[in-house]
Symmetry: C2
Subunit: 448 residues, 2 copies
């Protein structure tokens, strides 16, 4: 039942493979000379069927989603840990655990990742968290959102499969990340967004000189359109980071898990709070944490995983609370536009992971989002985008409800930058006073 | 003659020391327990007079500017190099060369620096540079400008001198950097900007919850006002990063020189192009390069230093070209507002350094700034603020004029983020098309 949407995409993909010269689809031919590090195949998350590495994303056996299967490094974990620590200050320090060539850091790319894990003591004090509170601040990435991570991996896949245009459906951040990565790499880009996004995101999606197409509709309309385009000769030679390159793209979010644990001194956190749009990021962070345990890089212990949504687009939160299936939200209405995916592909997996780990899914309204953005800025000097406000707002709400445990170590994700969602706070964040340049005027303002 | 402005500030500072409890001024008492790493005193850049470490900025002997004097590490350069390379991925890897405590990285601060040095091969191809072209991209700092560097050092000085409020006069970027750093550190902040700055910078200056005061005037009016405030009881206990903490603050820009050389494999570049507002950054980068030579960390060779200004506020460029003194610009008029300092304190030093190194000072107009911003985004995926457009625009102009040598290795600085100067490109950077979500609509748009 979960796979209904994917089934139609799989049919499109299968149909498209006939027309797309040299581009293998699932279960058909695959590029024989593809070399993407320790990645060895694509594997269906549902039925385990394996297909060769290629731009495929849906299992033709069961319509389940494909993900990258690895032969990960074996042997002494201490040696692997040292190798990672001696690597570059970017996500490429984890290249041995990713579907990328070993020399990836030497190719023109944005070199994202290894962003700061902020020890948020002042925020912890305000929220009453005693077990250690950390903000993983991905606004430090090159285009100031976590999207640079998955795009960097999709770029390598695009190169490996010979694509000449990099594309995506996006709520804004991804469009900028794809545009920038394509320009650095010398590929053409053509990205698709819903009309009416924040000005910052629109400009950023356009500035890199590729084509930017606004679609009169929601993100889900944009996404459906991109699936159609893959099946059409118009889309020939196009790598859509989050559609036909999705299995590779998705792995980028694992690096958030790797970095958090390394930055905690090679330890798992007790609790982690993650925003949910498609849900892909949460699923892959969970996968990344488990891989570190399997590799012996961290000691196993329970990690409670919490998912955060905006009330105005909270299909996963609603399903978690009412115990039913994830029902699409037709018209998202929230200031957290980067999370406004009404029909989240990985929604059911998010619920499974949160429930199974002893976590939860919760949502907050627009006012709570703005409050949390300001709280984070005021206490830690981190200016998060609305999605970061969602994550911190949910953290606060779940702390107040006694669901998040204040005595445990807790990591909160900020996945984007406040400069991209300026409108959310602009009306309430301006000068305390406008004065003449004189001491008397300053004295009269009463601010000293 | 150069020191006229500073002289009046020195008198104010000397007067203020009487009223400001516990705050030593130049040549008077100094905090005896101040420990700021290898910094041992403040020294006059003009006459060499030394005074103890303290919140002093003007020599009371000759009214020259004070700067930090060090006892830098001696001994095996290889050992120091290894120590640096094993340090954190922030500017604190150079802590032994800065006026900060050895444990600075463990204190709550924004941990700026160690931003990417982008090997700009595609840009080099467009500009005809064959000797290697690099963009030092400081938009990767926590508040997305180079200002996080000097502020991080000023913060340590403020802590050492017992200041409880962090303040500054700012064209925008500095205000955000001070607000964020103060919030992270748990200090109060009150920052001053000219009215009419870009919305992004105003919101960013306010979001961290300190006081933001807009002054009805130019940046130079704001700066004069801050100098008055230091001499008034209203400003008691206030550390102004770029006024009474300026000798410390200024050292932050040295880290740009350190990083560039380390990232080039411990080599000096042949040419470097630096934007000029007050000129402080260029002077300190020059100082940083010389220190690396003195320490034996890089081999000595000539480095040609070029300064970049915006035509609408180009007092240094004009003085360089006409061979006269730097005459203040009363009403700056440029889209590069972060460079709109009409009366640049370090202007004469900039001219000396550029002339002495075989470099030059040049300026570009608003259209050239925008063109350069788009060129950088299109070729390298770097979205620079207008100041970055100034630097690249001047680089291009000087290449075309045969002044910058295309056969030499060249580093261009991007000191800020395009998201903060959106208006400069917003009207010319939008969707290529707005279409219905259908293949026929996309086909009709003619973009495939």
């Amino acid at each position: 039942m979960r796979r209904k949407g994917l089934a139609s995409m799989a049919v499109q993909a299968a149909e498209s493979s006939a027309g797309a010269a040299g581009i293998p689809a699932a279960g058909t031919s695959a590029a024989s000379d593809v070399s993407l590090g320790s990645a060895v195949a694509l594997s269906c998350r549902e039925c385990g069927t394996r297909v060769p590495l290629g731009p495929s994303f849906v299992c033709l056996e069961c319509f389940g989603p494909l993900e990258v299967a690895y032969e990960l490094p074996t042997g002494d974990p201490e040696r692997l840990r040292k190798q990672i620590e001696a690597g570059p200050a970017s996500m490429w320090r984890y290249a041995p655990l990713l579907p990328v060539p070993a020399d990836v850091a030497d190719k023109p790319n944005l070199n994202p990742g290894f962003t700061q894990l902020v020890q948020a003591d002042r925020l912890a004090a305000e929220l009453g968290v005693t077990g250690g509170l950390y903000v993983k601040d991905d606004s430090g990435n090159p285009t100031h959102s976590f999207k640079d991570r998955p795009v960097a991996i999709a770029l390598e896949a695009a190169r490996a499969f010979g694509f000449t245009t990099l594309s995506c459906s996006s709520t804004g951040n991804l469009a900028g990340a794809v545009g920038a990565a394509a320009s650095r790499a010398g590929l053409r880009s053509c990205v698709f967004i819903p009309d009416g996004l924040e000005q910052s995101k629109v400009v950023m999606a356009a500035i890199y000189g590729g084509d930017l197409v606004a679609i009169d509709g929601t993100y889900d309309d944009v996404n459906r359109f991109c699936s159609e385009l893959i099946g059409d000769p118009l889309g020939e030679g196009w790598g859509f980071t989050n559609v036909n390159l999705r299995p590779f793209y998705a792995e980028g979010s694992k690096t958030l898990a790797y970095e958090i644990c390394e930055q905690l001194g090679w330890k798992l956190p007790d609790q982690i709070v993650i925003p949910v749009a498609s849900g892909c990021q949460l699923v892959k962070i969970d996968k990344g944490l488990r891989e570190l345990v399997e590799l012996g890089l961290v000691e196993d212990k329970p990690v409670r995983i919490f998912a955060a949504q905006a009330e105005g687009c909270s299909p996963v939160s609603r399903a978690f609370k009412d115990g039913g299936v994830v029902r699409p939200v037709r018209r998202p209405d929230t200031i957290a536009k980067s999370l406004a995916i009404g029909d989240p592909a990985d929604g059911p997996y998010v619920i499974d992971i949160c429930r199974g780990s002893g976590g939860a899914v919760e949502d907050v309204n627009d006012a709570e989002i703005v409050d949390a953005m300001k709280l984070l800025a005021r206490t830690e000097g981190v200016f998060a985008e609305t999605a970061g406000g969602v994550t911190l707002g949910v953290t606060r709400k779940l702390l107040e409800a006694g669901v998040v445990d204040p005595s445990l170590s807790t990591v909160v994700l900020n996945t984007g930058d406040g400069l991209k969602t300026l409108d959310a706070v602009a009306s309430s964040s301006g000068p305390s006073a406008v004065i003449a340049p004189s001491l008397s005027a300053f004295r009269a303002a009463g601010l000293a």
